[in-house]
């Protein structure tokens, strides 16, 4: 009962008008950007890729950390700065319970806001995807059949050459007879797709991306690869590897729905970990918001991209492992791609779950212990 009062008080404290405005902007921000992209690109708009990109960069990369900083530190800092904490700290309620209620309140607010941001983004980027979710290719999976067959006929990259060599002799024979200046014949396309579907369904990896450094393998495929998938999961990986080998020619089978489902699961986990971490910061530092912002947008932005094991010191590394997103493949190499190339390995999801749970529990336990032990009286108020 007391805990309910504490939780209600903590929620009320977090829901100040200023913070609600910040939350509303954060919820609508990614969706507005997606809407602008959608209107700008017209028929070229790819909802799944746009969702993946904005979910990774904005929802996980910006909205979640900033919410965690604002509400995680705010759970304690506001009452300490305004000095109203004294009313709670002189009541016969153990201090750890007061802080735990504040943590739960912060977690609820961070999770709810993050989820609403993801849902708004998903709603704006939603479009019915051809062959949604299926690993097998069909005619509608191919964006431009003539160009697709032409590439197979005269491969312009090592990976396409590699895939072509694994088609059946009969298909290759038919392919060689086809005049690329004529429209793609349906029977030939069907033969090619049947062969490729066999390669997808085979219980072995279509190719090893390490052999083809020019290939830009999306985060989610990279993550799936780290899980050493079998059966249906391996087929999904092969499909994504095939999509990576033929950028712009094979439509992705990813759907916003299944990405959203994963994000909805992982966002509250991220809220729990970040929330506990920034709460800990607020129990130690007088101006935790500033330090928190520095950590969220300095450390958490750059460390996950660092080579070697250094990136394991970031919460974001593990969140990306649990909710990987496919981002558009660009011809130009930017800094992120260079960093990604330096650290191609991903963290297995089992390890990510364990590390996030351990981080959350350790940060929370430490925060509760410090809060129970420390004095929270400003010096100027003390004499």
């Amino acid at each position: 009962m007391v805990d309910l009062y504490l939780l209600r008080n903590a929620l009320r404290d977090l829901a100040s008008a200023k913070r609600l405005v910040v939350a509303a902007i954060l919820i609508m921000g990614p969706a507005f950007i997606a809407l602008a992209i959608r209107l700008g690109m017209g028929s070229q708009f790819d909802g799944v890729l746009t969702y993946g990109t904005l979910a990774a960069l904005l929802v996980f990369g910006f909205v979640l950390p900033i919410l965690a900083v604002v509400f995680g530190t705010g759970a304690v800092s506001q009452e300490l700065e305004q000095r109203t904490m004294v009313y709670l700290l002189t009541r016969p309620v153990p201090r750890w319970r007061i802080l735990l209620a504040k943590y739960v309140a912060a977690w609820i607010v961070i999770s709810a806001t993050g989820l609403l941001a993801a849902l708004a983004l998903a709603a704006v980027t939603y479009q019915p995807t051809p062959g949604s979710g299926r690993t097998a290719l069909n005619r509608r999976s191919i964006v431009n059949p003539r160009k697709f067959l032409a590439q197979l006929q005269t491969p312009d990259s090592p990976v396409v050459d590699y895939v072509t060599q694994r088609l059946s002799a009969e298909t290759l024979e038919q392919l060689s007879r086809w005049d690329p200046d004529t429209p793609a014949p349906r029977p030939l396309l069907r033969m090619v797709l049947t062969d490729l579907n066999k390669l997808i369904a085979a219980d072995r990896r279509l190719y090893d991306p390490a052999d083809f450094p020019e290939i830009n393998v999306p985060d989610d495929a990279r993550q799936l690869m780290a899980e050493r998938p079998r059966g249906a999961a391996n087929a999904r990986l092969n499909r994504w590897l095939l999509e990576a080998a033929f950028p712009d020619l094979i439509r992705t089978n990813r759907t916003t729905g299944n990405k959203l489902y994963r994000d909805v699961l992982v966002l509250p986990v991220g809220a729990a970990a970040y929330g506990a971490f920034f709460l800990l910061l607020a129990t130690i530092l007088p101006r935790a918001l500033i330090t928190g912002l520095f950590l969220a947008f300095g450390w958490e932005s750059w460390v996950p991209m660092m080579p070697g094991n250094f990136r394991l010191l970031s919460v974001m590394t593990y969140l990306r492992a649990l909710a990987p997103h496919a981002r558009p493949q660009t011809a130009s190499t930017d800094m992120m791609q260079i960093f990604q190339a330096l650290s191609p390995d991903t963290v297995p999801s089992a390890l990510a779950w364990i590390v996030l749970a351990a981080t959350t529990m350790a940060a929370l336990a430490l925060a509760l212990a410090i809060f129970s032990y420390r004095e929270y009286v400003p010096r100027d108020d003390a004499t």
């Binding site: 009062y5 000095r83 201090r95 004095e375 108020d381 004499t383």
Partner: protein, 306 residues
């Protein structure tokens, strides 16, 4: 109920309180001292928000820091003005009543009762943000009393109250003190304390300068004899008569008012015992009797500056 044994509290190089030893029992005690004397540190130590740097602080014979057993029996009204401005007075007091462990069935009734005690029933359902300074003070006092504590610690509780409010709250504190509770009130305004109690703890620059009844404290200060002014038509005659007593150190006639004589004595008790007898025997008509040294201001001035 409360005891400090050689308790000191430092904030880095800054003194909060220094080597304070005292015990406080039931009744109304005023913690008196100028700003920065260490009153709030004293109260924060007693209410378990701070630990002493050295020495020991005990409340109900337990260390109070973050001690829920102590908090159950102690009520605290802080000096700070900050409150939860978007809550109503009633919901604020109710929340803290719940946290203090008052059962749900009795809570609303007790909250009503305590809001009545501080005369806030009429404004209890308004937002605290819209309260006047005096109303905020009253609601702060209400939350300190809601769980019926045995020790009530009030840090400058009369700040912001109008004269009527001061009178009401002073009467409330006195009533609470007569119910065998320990009521500790801090103040830097002497006349406020004079209206409330004679039991004081006097602090200055972190040190406990004096403790006990104002009158007794005054009597202890040998360096500053007790002064009494008597106004009578035969002032010169009375002065001569009083100088016959060995405990009268001096008798001075007021240069501005020839009817007033001021005596100095180191034995005020003996003087007050003898004075009525002299007045009756010799037929003096005393118009006014005033002891400026009984005034807290004087005690305070002597002790702090002496």
């Amino acid at each position: 109920m409360i005891s400090l044994t050689r308790a000191s509290r430092w904030y880095g190089q800054v003194i909060g309180i220094n080597d304070v030893t005292c015990t406080i029992q039931a009744g109304l005690t005023a913690l008196l001292g100028p700003n920065g004397a260490g009153k709030s540190t004293f109260m924060k130590l007693v209410t378990g928000q701070l630990r002493p740097t050295t020495g020991d602080v005990r409340v109900f014979n337990q260390r109070p820091f973050a001690n829920t057993h102590v908090f159950r029996r102690i009520g605290y009204c802080p000096e700070i003005e900050a409150l939860y401005d978007d809550m109503t007075g009633r919901s604020f007091v109710t929340m803290l009543a719940a946290m203090a462990g008052i059962a749900r069935a009795k809570r609303a009734e007790r909250v009503d009762e305590v809001l009545g005690m501080v005369s806030m029933s009429h404004a209890a359902d308004r937002r605290i943000g819209g309260y006047s300074k005096g109303m905020r003070q009253r609601i702060k006092i209400a939350q300190a009393l809601v769980h019926d504590p045995e020790i009530i610690i009030l840090d400058e509780p009369l700040n912001g109250l109008d004269p009527v409010g001061r009178k009401e709250m002073t009467a409330l504190f006195l009533r609470l003190a007569t119910e065998n509770r320990c009521v500790l009130v801090s103040s830097h305004i002497l006349y406020e304390v004079e209206q409330m109690t004679r039991q004081i703890i006097l602090m200055d620059r972190g040190r406990l300068r004096a403790m006990g009844d104002v009158y007794q404290i005054r009597a202890l200060i040998d360096a500053h004899p007790h002064r009494v002014s008597i106004t009578t038509s035969r002032a010169r005659d009375l002065a001569r008569r009083l100088l016959e007593f060995p405990y009268i150190l001096s008798a001075t006639l007021d240069s501005a008012d020839a009817r007033q004589v001021t005596i100095e004595t180191r034995s005020p008790d003996a003087f007050y015992d003898d004075l009525p007898r002299i007045v009756l025997a010799d037929g003096y008509r005393v118009e006014e009797l005033d002891s400026p040294d009984n005034n807290l201001e004087a005690v305070f001035r002597y002790l702090v500056k002496g």
